[in-house]
Amino acid sequence: MDSKNLTLALEPAAGINRPLALTPGQDLWGYVASHLGRALLFFITCSSVLAVFLILVFVIVRAVPFLTDYSISDFLASQAWHPTSDSPVFGALTLIVGSLYVSLAALVFAVPVGIMAAVFLSDIVSWKIRNVVKPIVEILAAIPSVAYGFFAVLVLAPWMQKRFGFSTGTNALNASLILAVMALPTIISVAEDAISALGRELREASYGLGATRLETIVKVVLPAAHSGIIAAVVLGMMRAIGETMVVWMASGNATQIPHPWWDLSLSIRTMTATIAGEMGEAPEGSSHRSALFAVGVLLLTMTFVLNVVSEYFLSRAKKSLGNN
């Protein structure tokens, strides 16, 4: 190598003597462009937050005429829902109880199955099989809810009537089973993510101390992932409470509270089905329409509270992993 090549390689790049940060005076176009881009991205982010906020405001504003006229204790505690009679009565207790009943029953079916499936996918089965099965489980979440509704009314209801001798097949049990199937992919996915994220060290330490596989899973892995599992269950419950089409078709929509509280073979009605079924009929500006918006406010508060709870548990899960 001669000295000529060396000098060529060491020639400084163009503009290398410029200072790193230019003042607006030196580079006006760059300054304006960077701030404009920043404002544009901020605006786009704001509009999505604003959309959620505006939905909340819209529903509350439409519900206020009803909430100020009608006594709130009657609304929340009365069982009579007769919106179209000559003297309308709006008692949402049957709707609230119906929604909670069906969601909790769905969780009773879905949580054990979901957590066991999550444990199976993360701890017991090989990596290759897990990578095939997990996407298939997530496809279950993509089936349209009205397809589930049709299945519930046309297949599950007659089968239940024949098999269990129920007088009616469109009842709380039918709706709970279908809601459990719909909540399952959410629960499995989130719980499996939480359990896998614990890492190998925890499990290897447990095996190193002589624990069997069952003891490791039950006493070490599940307690360590409990925040993520709780978050998964809460998300599943959110899915179940917010589901409309399935309960509208499969639950029978009778405005009643089941007489012995454990009798799942009776028809019930949920808040979501009431809003979906009656909104089209309620004339604009009537107390019926405001009452439906008030039911919507109830629904929004419930899902909001569940959302906050799940966020809390998810952040606890992330924090505990961060400490590891």
Binding site: T94, M249, A254, Q256, G277, G280, E281, E284, G285
Partner: protein
């Protein structure tokens, strides 16, 4: 690249403006829906440029759409309520009713149910929850599964007015949202009783006599059957003579229209 995008946008707009075919929006009842569908199919054959959409979500929805001027024709299986009429007139829409056919609301039970007839009072008590077992009305000992249409339905309004006499239904009544769904529920549930328009009667469900009268074309057309009703198409004002809306609303007077109405199981208004 930019030129291609601009070119495609302009081409899309031009195509959109060129296909400026006439459209006809029809919304409303699930009972009158099949009639509107049959008319729409025939119209599409005769006028291929015509773009007809028929939505079937309930008479209440149809009235609301006409009031908001979202549709040209609102099909309804009941007359407009005072409140709907008032909001229509307040909004500058003047509803005009055209009666296109007669319908009967039939009480149906499962084909295996031996009960042949019920009085109006018995049906009312069943829906109010006072009679809960088929043995109380002459059937086998089975709990009655009561099925009704939801409140946005014209079929419900007719039943509520003529059979229930405006009394409230009991708490154990199940609600479904369309005639086909009510039919499916009664077809698959042994202890069920429901009500459907006569166009939905077939061999899978059994109609019971109401006050001793079997629902049929003759009894409905002559008004003998107690739960008979006219089916309406509402327009904003009387439609302009010769326009598509006018042709559609007066189609039931033609022979072909009568044939279509009868084929769907309803009772045509004129005798030809």
């Amino acid at each position: 690249m930019k030129k291609a995008i601009v070119g495609m946008v302009v081409l899309g707009l031009a195509m959109g403006m060129a296909v400026q075919a006439e459209t006809l929006q029809i919304e409303g009842s699930t009972t009158v829906g099949p009639i509107a569908d049959a008319f729409a199919e025939y119209f599409k054959k005769v006028y291929p440029d015509l773009d007809i959409t028929v939505k079937k979500t309930g008479s209440g929805d149809g009235a609301a759409a006409l009031v908001d001027s979202r549709c040209d024709i609102a099909t309804m299986s009941r007359f407009m309520k005072d409140k709907e009429f008032k909001s229509a007139v307040d909004g500058g829409v003047y509803p005009v009713a055209h009666v296109v056919a007669m319908d009967g609301v039939c009480s149906v039970v499962h084909p295996s149910n031996p009960v042949k007839g019920l009085t109006k009072a018995q049906i009312r008590d069943i829906y109010m929850g006072k009679i809960t077992n088929w043995s109380q009305v002459g059937g086998p000992s089975m709990p009655i599964v009561v099925i009704s249409r939801d409140t946005s339905s014209g079929t419900y309004e007719t039943f509520h007015g003529l059979v229930m006499e405006k009394k409230e239904m009991g708490p154990g009544v199940e609600y479904v949202n369309s005639n086909p769904q009510a039919h499916a529920r009664v077809r698959t549930t042994q202890g069920a009783i429901g009500y459907v328009g006569i166009g939905f009667l077939d061999r899978n469900v059994k109609a019971v006599k109401v006050d001793g009268i079997m629902p049929s074309r003759q009894t409905i057309a002559s008004g003998v059957y107690p739960v008979a009703r006219p089916l309406f198409m509402f327009t904003n004002g009387y439609p302009e003579l010769g326009s598509m809306v006018h042709k559609f609303c007066t189609f039931y007077l033609t022979e072909k229209g009568q044939e279509l109405v009868e084929a769907r199981g309803f009772v045509p208004l004129t005798v030809y």
